[in-house]
Structure formats: structure tokens, C-alpha cells
């Protein structure tokens, strides 16, 4: 079964032994990010869009908006719906079919980062109280999985939202206006290999790690969402250390890629 989940023992040992020496397969430090590229506004048909690359990982995020009804308990708030598909185009290990637990978890992690940070002022997405609000669909389309699609998706989501125009004219609801974005959350993932926490994992590192932790932080440094994923465990000290790294790297990414938008 080529494309199976089995990793060769030698490969596993190699990555593990490198880690013991403080090294990684691609020569990076444990705390080093790959080269990141970000381009927005690439899909005209979408209200907002972004193409993100972390090394060879490529993710495209599109934002589409529709008029819809608000939830009964929040009559003046717009609705955010985040969707992520792990389509087989992106990896020999992804299978066709509706999203399964991994894809659903990832979509919800990206969603949580956007929602809990208050990045979108959803009260400004109200058309008629109790009747009509804007639905914001954030669709993450993974194109090539070379590891850490989660962080690429998170960055793509906020970048796409920051460049989204609310299409009021098209729907006959007044004038177009820019998406009301008031925060810039950045998601950072680390995986645990042995006793070390490693930033921005490649897919090789992901396949030998036991645990992943993803942390989203805001511009003011506060943490707005976290998720531990995978079968291993983390000590409280590791969680605290990870959150510090997440804040530090989040700032770097925000400054370099988001503030320019």
C-alpha cells in the first residue's frame, strides 16, 4: 500500500536522532519557520482570497458572502462558517470523500482562531436585525501538503478576511464596504518529537511526532485559542513554553505579512 501510514523505521530513527542532536531534516532550528509567501486578492470571483505557502505547503483560502438569517439568540450578529477539505490533490495520503475527523478538527481550529479573537466585528455584519445578516464562508482549499497546513490555513484565513469586500451592491443591500476586521490573530503550531517542541513541522516530522499544539495569539499578545491534538501528552511547562514561542513568532508573522495589507 504505497501512500500507507507506515513510516520506515530507519526514517523514524533518523528524524529522532537528528532531534537529539538539536537538528532537523531541512537544517532548520527547532524554533525556525520555513520561508513564507502570501498573496491576496487572487480570485476575483471570491469576496476575499489568499494564497499561502509555508515552504512547499500551499493553501488557498477563499471568502464568500451570502445573505442569511441570524441565529435566534444573536439577532444582530453575522455568521461565520469555516470549512476545510483535505482533498486528495494535496497528498498521497488524503482520501476522497466528505471531511473526516482530522479535517473537521482543523477547520474548527482555524474557525476558533478567527472567532475567539474577535477578528471580525460581527455586529457590523447585520443587515436587518433579527431577519437578515451576512454569512461569511471561509473555505480552505489545501493544494499541497508538505506539513503544517493548519498554520498556513490560519494565516490565509485572516489575510483573506482583511482583503474582503462585503458585496452589498450585488445583493441590493446598499453600498459595498470592507470587511470589519479589528484583530489579526496568528496561529502557530508546534509538534513534540521525543522531549523537544518543534515549530512549523514538515510532513515527515508530523508523521513521527506524538502530539501537536496549536496556539492563536492576538496583536496585544493575548492568547485567544489553543488546541492539543494527537495521542501523546504535554507537561504544563511545555504548554507555557509553546505559548511563548507562539506569541513571539505570531508577532513576526503579523509584522511581516499582515500589517502590510
Amino acid at each position: 500500500m504505497s501512500g500507507s501510514e507506515v513510516i520506515s523505521r530507519l526514517k523514524r530513527d533518523y528524524i529522532y536522532n537528528l532531534m537529539l542532536k538539536g537538528e532537523r531534516e531541512d537544517g532548520r532550528q527547532f524554533n525556525e519557520l520555513r520561508d513564507i509567501a502570501l498573496e491576496t486578492g487572487i480570485i476575483d470571483k471570491a469576496e476575499g482570497s489568499a494564497m499561502v505557502q509555508y515552504g512547499d505547503t500551499q493553501v488557498m483560502v477563499g471568502v464568500k458572502m451570502q445573505v442569511g438569517t441570524p441565529f435566534p439568540d444573536s439577532p444582530t450578529e453575522g455568521v461565520i462558517i469555516t470549512n476545510m477539505e483535505l482533498n486528495p490533490i494535496a497528498s498521497p495520503d488524503f482520501e476522497a470523500g466528505p471531511p473526516r475527523e482530522k479535517a473537521i478538527e482543523m477547520a474548527r481550529i482555524v474557525d476558533r482562531g478567527i472567532r475567539e479573537s474577535g477578528a471580525i466585528d460581527i455586529n457590523k455584519l447585520c443587515i436587518t436585525e433579527g431577519e437578515e445578516v451576512w454569512m461569511v464562508f471561509i473555505d480552505v482549499h489545501v493544494l499541497n501538503n508538505s506539513g503544517n497546513i493548519l498554520d498556513a490555513a490560519s494565516l490565509g484565513a485572516i489575510a483573506a478576511l482583511m482583503t474582503t469586500t462585503v458585496p452589498s451592491e450585488r445583493e441590493g443591500k446598499g453600498e459595498d464596504y470592507p470587511m470589519p476586521v479589528r484583530e489579526m490573530p496568528v496561529g502557530i503550531s508546534l509538534v513534540k518529537i521525543g522531549d523537544e517542541m518543534v515549530l512549523d513541522p514538515t510532513y515527515g516530522e508530523e508523521s513521527v511526532c506524538e502530539t501537536r499544539i496549536t496556539i492563536s495569539s492576538n496583536q496585544d499578545g493575548s492568547i485567544c485559542s489553543m488546541q492539543k491534538s494527537g495521542s501523546g501528552s504535554l507537561t504544563p511547562a511545555q504548554v507555557v513554553k509553546a505559548s511563548k514561542i507562539a506569541k513571539e513568532k505570531g508577532e513576526i508573522i503579523r509584522e511581516k505579512y499582515l500589517l502590510e495589507i
Partner: protein, 294 residues
């Protein structure tokens, strides 16, 4: 939604986007853009943006889907939710399922399926932005992705659509022409002019059909030329260096026919000497086998 234009072709014979009736939209292409796929191609045609990737040949599960003497060519056409003005719900639709079927069938006559019995070649075509003619754009990209993946084929497949607006046949319909025109005929062809995909919506007289097929053949030839240019220009440098290298020391580069002798040389020298004689006896047999496989 855009309103229907009064006229599609003006007095000078120019269409809404300034093209003549037999002109195709501008095309931009880049190959090898996805690292995990065995072959890939990104293609822009007008405002269409499509990405094609090939995985294979690879193992096919479940077993009951395996064809005993051939490889299965499996084509999946998918539109991204954000690729059109009205968001598409993720997942296959009846339309995308149909397009997947006929597009895969467009390649079956040219892929040398007997090379990989029981295996599967997966072709994925993702439409990132749609602007009329996505299925033909996808096929054009998929052809290059298949070549990039090293799949043996008799030739390249090119696709284009012809349609009718204002009673006039036009090549490579744009969005308004597709929405409001009188006919839409997407076609895929091999380089010999054999049609491997053909669909039609609308009304055409038999004469218009014949003329339309002539027109779309020219369109496909133009696209074939683009595909050839992309393939050849990608490795331009290697060709030149190769020619120089030959003159200097021809014995450096092992010839494919001599591969058989070298197979055992990965062992320590003492071992390989013992085995070399076996291999030399075997060489002629192996060459024979190879010929049969053609």
C-alpha cells in the same frame, strides 16, 4: 448576474472582449507546481484558473476495482467553493461527476494503459476560478500534468469549445457567450485530430456542426502548440549541455541498453565480479523482454 448583451459581435467583427471569432483567450501555464504530486500543472485561460495534479501509477484499493490487464485512469474534476460568484457547496455535484467521467474518457485512448495492470492513475483537476470553459481548461492542464508525471501516452490531448452567438460560430466562449449564446460545443482532440471528448448544448444545423468542428480543430491545434512550447522550454538548458558532453567523453554516460550489466554493481566489488558473468549472460534475454513490452 450580468444582463444579456444586445449584441455579441460588433460591426467590425469583434466580440465583447475584443477578440475575433476564431481567436482563443490568452493562456498562461506553469508545470511542476505541487511537490507531493507526481506531476502537476497550473493553467490560466482567460479568467479561468485551474490546477491539475497526477498521482500514479499507484496501488488501487479496493481490489474489486482493479482491472487485471490495464491501469485505471481516474479523473476527478472539482470546483472550489469560491471559484464562482454564487458559492458552491463543497463536494461532488451531478455536474462535476459527469464532467469527471467524460474527461477521464478523453484520456483513455491515449494513455498506454497496458503498462501498469491493476494500478490506478489519479488525475485531479481543481477549478480555482471559473470563467466559462473550465472543463476544457482542466483537460489542457491535465495533459501537461500527466506528461510531468512520466505517464506513457501516445500523444497530448488538447481541448477547446466552439459555440454560436448572433448566428455566428465563435471559438472559445467567454462567460456571457456561454450563458446567452445559442450553442456550446466543448471538444477534446488528440494531435491526429481524433475526438476524445464531445458534448453539445443548444442548436446547430449539420452545416454549422461541420464548420464548428473545423474551427475547434484549429483551436485545439493552437493549444497543442502552447502545450508543446511549455514542455520543451522547461528544460531548455539540459539539451544544450547534453550535446557538448557527448563530444568530450562519450563513454562517461551509460547507455540505456547497457543498464542490465550494471545492476549488480551496488555490492562490494568481490561479490559483483562473481555475479557479473551471470548478468552478462542474462543481458540478451533482458533486451528481448524489453522489446516485447513495446
Amino acid at each position: 448576474m450580468s444582463d444579456k448583451p444586445e449584441r455579441f459581435i460588433d460591426d467590425e467583427g469583434l466580440r465583447l472582449d475584443g477578440r475575433r471569432v476564431d481567436e482563443i483567450r490568452p493562456m498562461k501555464v506553469e508545470m511542476g507546481v505541487l511537490s507531493r504530486a507526481d506531476g502537476s500543472c497550473y493553467l490560466e485561460w482567460g479568467n479561468n484558473k485551474v490546477l491539475a495534479a497526477v498521482y500514479g501509477p499507484r496501488e488501487l484499493h479496493p481490489r474489486r476495482m482493479q482491472k487485471p490487464n490495464e491501469v485505471l485512469v481516474r479523473y476527478k474534476y472539482n470546483m472550489a467553493s469560491f471559484s464562482v460568484e454564487d458559492r458552491i457547496r463543497p463536494g461532488p455535484s451531478r455536474r462535476s461527476t459527469e464532467i469527471s467521467k467524460v474527461s477521464g474518457e478523453a484520456f483513455e485512448p491515449v494513455v498506454m494503459t497496458q503498462y501498469y495492470p491493476g494500478a490506478v492513475i489519479d488525475v485531479f483537476a481543481e477549478v480555482l476560478q471559473a470563467d466559462a470553459g473550465t472543463r476544457t481548461a482542466a483537460i489542457n492542464a491535465a495533459t501537461l500534468a500527466l506528461a510531468d508525471a512520466g505517464i506513457p501516452m501516445k500523444g497530448l490531448v488538447s481541448a477547446c469549445a466552439v459555440g454560436k452567438v448572433d448566428g455566428q460560430l465563435v471559438l472559445d466562449l467567454n462567460k456571457p457567450e456561454d450563458n446567452y449564446g445559442q450553442a456550446d460545443l466543448p471538444v477534446a482532440m488528440t494531435q491526429d485530430g481524433e475526438i476524445t471528448l464531445l458534448q453539445m448544448d443548444g442548436h446547430l444545423t449539420p452545416e454549422e456542426l461541420e464548420e464548428g468542428l473545423e474551427m475547434v480543430k484549429k483551436g485545439c491545434q493552437q493549444i497543442l502548440e502552447i502545450q508543446r512550447e511549455v514542455l520543451v522550454s522547461r528544460y531548455g538548458n539540459e539539451d544544450e549541455e547534453g550535446e557538448e558532453a557527448e563530444e568530450e567523453s562519450p563513454e562517461e554516460v551509460p547507455e540505456p541498453e547497457e543498464e542490465e550489466e550494471e545492476r549488480d554493481n551496488s555490492f562490494d566489488n568481490e561479490e559483483s565480479e562473481a555475479e557479473n558473468s551471470d548478468e552478462n549472460d542474462v543481458t540478451e534475454e533482458d533486451e528481448g523482454e524489453e522489446d516485447e513490452r513495446q
